[in-house]
């Protein structure tokens, strides 16, 4: 039985999304322990990749593909857990990630998402060109308190501030931590719009989330 958990672990490390899904389906079919499959398979695999990244041995395609494989496989098991009323797997914290309204750039955001996933956070990526409402909607749906807003253009940075203004207007600013990032952003900008944090690189974003959710 533990053989399949090792296989899952390897599939994640290899970044083999198809196999990671196939193995999740097998776990469900054979009625194996779902939480054990998550922890000994998917989480264990991504932790290994995260450690290699920290050691400078893994590179972006390794981490990003591993994160994709892990998320796709694990989401099937989580759905099954929810369906059967099982205990939810415990993560290190939930983060909603998106590119702000008017901006369609997503490479940097995807890198941040992958590294956060590899660090054990549960990431909900809502995609590009997202309004303030969309961030809140997702956060409330999944119970996340950290909102990560990305922007690559000087012309769309404004939307990061608007996200915070929106929270203030609705009187729900205290419920969330808003962190920002992207090419033209800076610490100064994050202070100006009263964000809860800013990171220049994906690694710094992981440290920031550890601080906020630790």
């Amino acid at each position: 039985m533990s053989a399949i958990f090792d296989e899952i672990r390897e599939a994640v490390i290899d970044g083999d999304e198809d196999l990671a899904i196939e193995l999740a389906e097998r776990v469900i079919e054979e009625k194996l322990d779902l939480v054990e499959a998550i922890e000994k398979g998917y989480i264990s695999g991504i932790e290994e990749v995260g450690a290699s990244w920290k050691a400078g041995e893994a590179f972006l395609p390794d981490v990003m593909m591993a994160a994709d494989a892990m998320k796709s496989g694990m989401s099937l098991l989580e759905a099954e857990l929810a369906r059967t009323g099982g205990e939810e797997h415990e993560d290190k914290g939930k983060i909603v990630l998106g590119t702000v309204e008017g901006d369609i750039h997503d490479i940097g955001k995807n890198i941040v998402g992958a590294l956060l996933t590899a660090a054990g956070f549960k990431v909900y990526d809502i995609g590009i060109d997202q309004k303030a409402e969309d961030f809140i909607k997702k956060a409330d749906e999944v119970g996340a308190t950290v909102l990560g807003a990305s922007s690559l253009l000087t012309t769309t940075m404004r939307s990061q501030g608007e996200l915070i203004e929106y929270l203030e207007e609705k009187g729900i600013r205290d419920k969330y931590k808003v962190i920002i990032g992207g090419g033209p952003t800076s610490k100064k900008w994050s202070e100006e719009i009263k964000a809860d944090g800013w990171a220049e690189t994906a690694d710094e974003a992981v440290d920031l989330c550890r601080e906020l959710l630790g």
Binding site: G56, F59, L60, P61, P184, T201, A202
Partner: protein, 475 residues
């Protein structure tokens, strides 16, 4: 002049061309700008939404209409430039939002920096143009920036310059300003005097802003660099041949559009393709792969019969240090020896196009002088073979007091303006390293620079145009 060498075999050039035609036919290129899509429809290309699937014969025919070389006209005709053939044109960096100062601090670039770099390029013996968008002057509102930048080029130097391509309206403004400088739109249509940079959005897209600019320049027959920056590994394949094929498809798609709008419009095949740093995801340009892309691009441009743009003094270093020096030398030498004609970013660039440095500018200016001398090659006249003087001196003598020596060393030897060739004791007097000497030098050049006088009447007309446009745009 040194013969420019090829890095690809004829078969390899053909393979890239074939792969490109397949990409253009089967994958297509997306143009977000409706007027551009209309042009392709009118020319019988298959269009689905905004994606254009090209017919290879059509692309080949259109690209063949672009001239192999052309003259860029300056307000001082002595500074006219031939773009194409064996020529190499150097100019400053383009588009950096930050300045890295000698005190180690990074700050936002301003219009004052803009003027300074234009003046330094104007004063340089090694840079042929003052370039364009030499920094992003962040103290000037975006809607009028293009006017202020062009004004700097017009008033601070009489060398050729580039203008905004940021949308149709801004492009039209700078074209009209250049027309005033040269005596009318008809004049510059005959004698192109303005060039610009049009970038694709890799992979395989062009956006509204750039396409608007492209259409304006094409309508008025002004030259354009159609450039692609593939980040091999993230916005393009991690294999160099694959990334080069993506780049080639984008550039040919852009060139095809220019020739549909105005056949014979001068275009320059541009490449800034490089690699992705796989640990951070950032662009990385100071490396051998970037040089290979650059050299291959020069060759693809020769294959298509158009001038080429690529390379420069490129580096990933954040400061003007040793890394900045060795990376810049590689990328400028590589571009120049393999036949790139138009070298944007020859001087000043740091941190993959993010910052400009005055010190780096002076170091790069020196590198440009060295490389310029290198590609000039050896002169082989009878006098240069120097048999008579060799005979006169004979075995065991010296050449220091020969007329031949006195006459020739000045033209044969490159005279450094920054490098230190003194004895140890001589150097020890000031103990200045290259950066400290560079600081002294740029300050000295700026202090002693007098911009070439501009005809009062022309200047008044230009001032009036800019004033009018600013009041309209600020509404």
């Amino acid at each position: 002049m040194l013969p420019k060498f090829n890095i690809l075999t004829e078969e390899q050039v053909q393979a890239i061309h074939e792969n490109t035609m397949k990409i253009m036919e089967e994958v297509g290129v997306e143009f977000s700008y409706d007027p551009a899509v209309e042009v392709f429809k009118k020319n019988g290309q298959k269009v689905e939404g905004h994606r254009v699937f090209f017919d290879r014969k059509f692309v080949e025919e259109m690209v063949a209409k672009a001239p192999a070389q052309f003259v860029l006209h300056a307000r001082n005709p002595e500074n006219n430039l031939v773009c194409g053939g064996e020529n190499t044109i150097y100019m400053p960096g383009y588009g950096a939002p930050f300045i890295h100062d000698a005190n180690g601090k990074r700050r936002n670039a301003t219009l004052n920096d803009y003027d300074n770099f234009v003046k330094l390029a104007g004063a340089s013996k090694n840079l042929h143009m003052t370039g364009g968008n030499v920094v992003e002057p962040q103290d000037v509102p975006d809607e009028i920036r293009h006017l202020k930048m062009l004004y700097s080029h017009i008033t601070n130097s009489d060398k050729c310059f580039m203008g905004s391509s940021s949308g149709y309206e801004k492009a039209k403004d700078v074209i009209e300003l250049t027309a005033i400088l040269h005596g009318g739109l008809d004049v510059i249509k005959e004698k192109p005097a303005l060039s610009c940079l049009v970038n694709s959005v890799t992979p395989l897209k062009f956006d509204d802003r750039m396409l608007g600019g492209l259409m304006a320049y094409a309508e008025y027959g002004q030259p354009m660099v159609i450039a692609s920056l593939v980040m091999s590994g993230s916005t393009g394949p991690a294999s160099l041949a694959g990334a080069l094929s993506v780049q080639n498809s984008e550039v040919l798609a852009g060139i095809t559009l220019t020739q549909c709008i105005n056949p014979g419009t001068p275009v320059i095949y541009g490449s800034t393709s490089a690699i992705t740093d796989m640990a951070s995801g950032s662009l990385s340009i100071g490396n051998p792969e970037c040089s290979l892309f650059t050299s291959a691009s020069a060759q693809m441009a020769r294959f298509y019969g158009v001038p080429s743009r690529g390379g420069g003094g490129l580096t990933d270093s954040k400061i003007a240090d040793t890394q900045a020096g060795y990376e810049s030398m590689m990328t400028l030498l590589g571009a120049s020896t393999t036949g790139i004609n138009f070298v944007l970013h020859s001087a000043g660039i740091l941190q993959y196009y993010m910052a400009m440095s005055y010190e780096k500018f002076m170091v790069d200016d020196e590198i440009a002088g060295m490389v310029g001398r290198y590609i000039r090659g050896m002169d082989f006249t009878e006098e240069k073979l120097a048999f008579d003087v060799i005979k006169a001196v004979g075995p065991g003598g010296h050449y220091l007091t020969q007329k031949h020596t006195r006459k020739n060393f000045k033209v044969e030897f490159f005279r450094p303006q920054l490098s230190d060739r003194q004895s140890y004791d001589g150097w020890e007097n000031g103990e200045l390293d290259a950066n400290a000497r560079a600081t002294q030098r740029w300050q000295d050049v700026l202090e002693n620079y007098t911009p070439p006088a501009l005809d009062e009447k022309v200047k008044a007309e230009i001032d009036a145009f800019i004033e009018k446009r600013i009041s309209e745009l600020k509404k």
